[in-house]
Symmetry: C2
Subunit: 274 residues, 2 copies
């Protein structure tokens, strides 16, 4: 049973990576959490429609499918393959009942960022029709500039807004992740801009630890770092966002810890810091 | 003897951290390099005026002293101590004959970035008079957003330009480091803005490796990563910068390697990629 207080809380399967999705669903439901965001690796060897039923039967909402994208490459064959892959991700999201797919847009260290950005526009354009047909929206997630070499040439919310404006497609919006964006002095005004365009599809939380020992897998639980999460949440809500708040934490040390106790800490941190 | 071809090349003492500064001066001079930027730890136990003489006698220029700053703290006593420390750094730069001090502005994870930014303005204001008296300029160096938690609340060249405009002091300018700024889509226009205000005091080069294994000490030699260094150098030169090009590389693996061979690689990389 979802608890009213936790009905807006969603957790990404990757946050509790050691748990198979069946365990995650069971544990989240028992804790009263409202939703789950599914990472594609959690679907390995499973039918998305079967997973969907299991999630819904447990009383959880399917919030999102993570992740598509990676449109940028100096190699045209790789770009074409990325488009094919994203078309299949869209169908997977539809079968899973996920209203949107999060896009990590991609970057290739072998070419200028400007080229990657053009290819990202082309890639999203190429899959937007399929997204529309299946009723699945696409959430561009700007990634922290420390991933600009190989993961995302879209580093700021301003860039994501610019792409959305250029594409001007109802199925394309943004995912706002505090971990990637908290440092940006233009964040408040860009959140407002997102709101005015009604394009905030997702809101992700975690925290930035000091020191951060690993570029990828050393995120913290909300409240353990320096991100003003509540301030940003208030900005996002003021901009009209009323969806679930998604906890997305990659952490070698937390993955190595007891997952049930970790889940309790997440819930406590959600109450106190989000 | 400085070689004409290498007269614009400067190396930071920290780049060859295993060498005491006396060795660095001797090796840079023998290689024909034009200048040296001195990190304060390289002065430990030495008189700046003696080091100055040794550098000039070897035919090198003193390009900069690294580094002052760290003005931000939730603790007022720490902020006051930072101002005192920076006043002594300015006098040290004067004795060393360094025309400017690089400022890493600081950030405190215990307070909002907005507070750190106000304290940075106050800190620079508090030391600008002393800088003017000693004829030492202050170069605000925006740091990569991955250091926004604890090292610099100034993450973009736009922010550095904004501070310079606010302060409007002839002794305050900026240091442009490709490692910190290459990802920023607004970099070209902000370099132009620096140029129009004649405030580019320093230009630092290194490269971003894929993968980067450490947030602090895994920079690459120019050409080994994804940064379009020559493109950015051309923008900086077009903006009127005619100073030395400074190689600032922090790298656990390069520090562990043969320093003379590493210096040869830097010189080769400078010729080919800068």
């Amino acid at each position: 049973m979802t608890s009213p207080e936790l009905s807006r809380l969603c957790i990404h399967t990757i946050t509790n990576k050691p748990w198979p999705i069946e365990t995650a669903v069971e544990e989240y439901a028992r804790a009263g959490i409202g939703g789950i965001t599914v990472w594609r690796d959690a679907l390995d060897g499973r039918e998305p429609s079967v997973v969907r039923k299991r999630i819904l039967d447990a009383g959880l909402a399917v919030v999102s499918l993570c992740r598509g994208g990676f449109f940028a490459s100096a190699n045209p064959a790789v770009r074409a393959e990325a488009v094919r892959e994203n078309l299949s991700v869209i169908r997977q999201a539809h079968e899973l009942g996920a209203p949107h797919v999060v896009l990590v847009c991609g970057a290739d260290p072998k070419q200028p960022l400007e080229d990657s950005r053009v290819q990202i526009l082309e890639g999203i354009s190429a899959i937007a029709g399929e997204a529309s047909r299946f009723g699945v929206r696409l959430a561009i997630e700007p990634l922290h500039p420390m991933y600009a070499d190989s993961r995302s040439a879209i580093s700021t919310l301003e860039q994501a807004n610019d792409i959305c404006d250029l594409l001007d497609l109802p199925e394309v919006g943004v995912a706002i992740d505090v971990y990637h964006l908290f440092w940006d002095p233009h964040l408040p005004e860009q959140i407002e801009r997102c709101g005015a365009a009604q394009r905030i599809l997702a809101f992700h939380v975690s925290d930035w630890l000091t020191p951060t020992r690993d570029l990828l897998n050393d995120r913290g639980i909300m409240g353990d770092g320096c991100i003003p999460i509540r301030t940003i949440r208030e900005q996002v809500v003021r901009a009209g966002f009323d969806g679930q708040i998604e906890v997305e934490i990659f952490s070698n040390s937390l993955w190595a810890s007891d997952q049930r106790r970790y889940l309790d800490r997440i819930i406590d941190a959600y109450r106190r810091h989000v």
